[in-house]
């Protein structure tokens, strides 16, 4: 049943958004990683999971906003069953460290997909929030892979329910690491630059 729902949802996303993967700077590998991507639509999480090879999906968890993906039963079902998502409380009102479930997964050797902008942009990439930096400091050996999701702001922009079925390509870049004495601002700027560089690659 779960497998059927997953197959249906990912199949539908492939039909509507193409969901092609282009591994530019690294290859898909079964090792703990944090993939961090630009955030432009509610489809982002689904598209990036659909672009991953099936054998990586069970151990790769997109970090999704609790206030959206936990809001209805259907969304919660898609998020947890199809996407293996961790739902993150963005409000700051929840008990304890909001990053705790993420830390737990990384220490078990799993991978995460983060959207460090925190909120959906409109084709531009906003400054990154510090969650990525905090995780990178706790897990200095982990590979941080920049991902650029192309065209999703054209497929399902903010403020509409209409999907225009273009082809979305997920560009996976070369991994970066946190330098030992790198400041928060410098690191987050560099990480954002790595995503932007994938957007501006020559055709």
């Amino acid at each position: 049943m779960n497998a059927l729902v997953r197959w249906l949802v990912l199949g539908l996303v492939r039909l509507l958004a193409g969901a092609q993967a282009n591994w530019q700077g690294c290859t898909p590998e079964r090792r703990p990683r944090i993939y961090f991507a630009n955030h432009t639509s509610h489809l982002d999480t689904v598209v990036i999971v659909a672009a991953l090879p099936p054998e990586l999906r069970s151990e790769t968890h997109p970090v999704a906003a609790l206030d959206y993906w936990g809001a209805t039963k259907l969304r919660r079902l898609i998020a947890t069953v199809c996407l293996n998502a961790v739902l993150l409380d963005r409000s700051g009102r929840g008990p304890g460290d909001p990053l705790a479930p993420l830390v737990d997964l990384l220490s078990r050797g799993h991978s995460l997909v983060l959207f460090p902008e925190g909120t959906r942009g409109e084709g531009t990439v906003a400054p990154f929030r510090s969650g990525l930096f905090n995780l990178a400091r706790q897990f200095p050996d982990i590979e941080l892979v920049p991902v650029y999701l192309e065209n999703l702001h054209r497929i399902l922009p903010k403020g509409t329910m209409l999907i225009v079925p273009l082809i979305c390509t997920s560009w996976f870049g070369a991994p970066i690491r946190l330098d030992p004495d790198e400041s928060r601002g410098a690191f987050l700027g560099r990480a954002r630059g790595a995503v932007l560089a994938l957007a501006e690659r020559p055709a």
């Binding site: 193409g18 092609q20 409109e122 065209n151 054209r154 922009p157 509409t160 209409l162 999907i163 225009v164 079925p165 273009l166 082809i167 055709a203």
Partner: protein
């Protein structure tokens, strides 16, 4: 019943023999060719031949199932071609509604009109109704940046990927003779065979004898030798296959020449657009070929001309 038609059986059988020969030649070449450039060419050649098997089985299967299946297959091809076109064409937020309608209303409607045999509306739906309605919807978004260019891109994408391409299955609408042994689907198969043979043999003759570049600024791989060689083969085969059509042999040769010339310019025009957009292929759907649009670019130009000339002179 298409499958029981002796002409269909012979033609499809002939295509399978041709593909088997191509697969065998690819197998032999793979063992013989050693130079790095040659290895890459042979690998691409074999990928192309494999993709051809899939395309022939899909198309032959749809035709054997009947007109409905054939029209649905072409609707899907059109949908995917339009998606490749719009993906690579810059549009803005203000085009969102027009694009949504293009994909989910215009594409299905155009092919439903073929399915229900409504030629009158089929012929004017896009150039009259859609070309008036879509800019009207876009203008309400209130974004004037690149307005002319954006509308032109959406409209031309629809003309190319939907209107022009739909003229191929529209051949099923034509009643070209009282002869019941010749279903109209044979005419569609005829168009596709001539246009694709022309493409394939232009490629083969270009690789073997190509010297004189035809349009180096647009498509460096197109040569005079390739065009002439591929064209002569396609026109020759088109003449031999006249039994699939209402044409006399000389008429079949003339029609094939029309298909070859239109198809050649379809490929050339779409190459120019790819250059303009800064890409090499339209997509990655078909291994070895690129995108759907890379495979049907010549059909997009040949189909509307072939359809209308046939309808004008041969429909009864």
């Amino acid at each position: 019943m298409m499958l029981a038609n002796p002409v269909f059986q012979r033609v499809i059988g002939g295509i399978f023999v041709l593909l088997a020969v191509a697969s065998f030649a690819g197998f032999v070449l793979q063992r013989r060719v050693g130079s790095p450039g040659g290895v890459e060419t042979v690998r691409n050649l074999n990928a192309r031949v494999r993709a051809w098997w899939v395309m022939v089985v899909l198309l032959g299967g749809a035709m054997a199932l009947g007109p409905a299946a054939t029209v649905v297959l072409f609707a899907l091809i059109s949908f995917m071609a339009l998606r490749e076109f719009v993906t690579l064409t810059p549009t803005r937020r203000g085009d969102h509604r027009a694009l949504f309608l293009s994909f989910f209303v215009v594409v299905p409607l155009q092919f439903v009109l073929i399915g229900v045999n409504w030629y009158g509306l089929f012929a004017v739906l896009i150039p009259v109704y859609v070309f008036v309605i879509l800019p009207a919807i876009s203008v309400l978004a209130g974004d004037t940046t690149d307005f002319l260019a954006r509308n032109a891109k959406v409209q031309w994408g629809l003309w190319l990927c939907v209107y022009a391409l739909s003229c191929a299955p529209a051949l099923l609408l034509l009643n070209t003779s009282a002869d019941r042994d010749r279903p109209p689907a044979l005419l569609l198969l005829y168009l596709l065979i001539v246009v694709q043979l022309s493409d394939v043999f232009q490629y083969v003759c270009g690789k073997l004898f190509g010297r004189t570049k035809l349009a180096p600024a647009v498509s460096p791989s197109k040569t005079v030798e390739g065009l002439v060689g591929g064209g002569v083969i396609a026109v020759g085969v088109g003449m031999l296959l006249h039994a699939m059509t209402p044409f006399a042999p000389w008429q079949a040769a003339a029609m094939s020449l029309l298909i070859v010339v239109a198809g050649f310019f379809g490929g050339l025009v779409l190459s120019a657009i790819k250059r303009d957009l800064g890409v090499k292929d339209w997509g990655r759907t078909i291994e070895g070929h690129g995108g759907i649009l890379d495979r049907v670019d010549s059909v997009c130009f040949a189909a509307p001309l072939f359809f209308h000339v046939t309808r004008f002179w041969f429909a009864v």
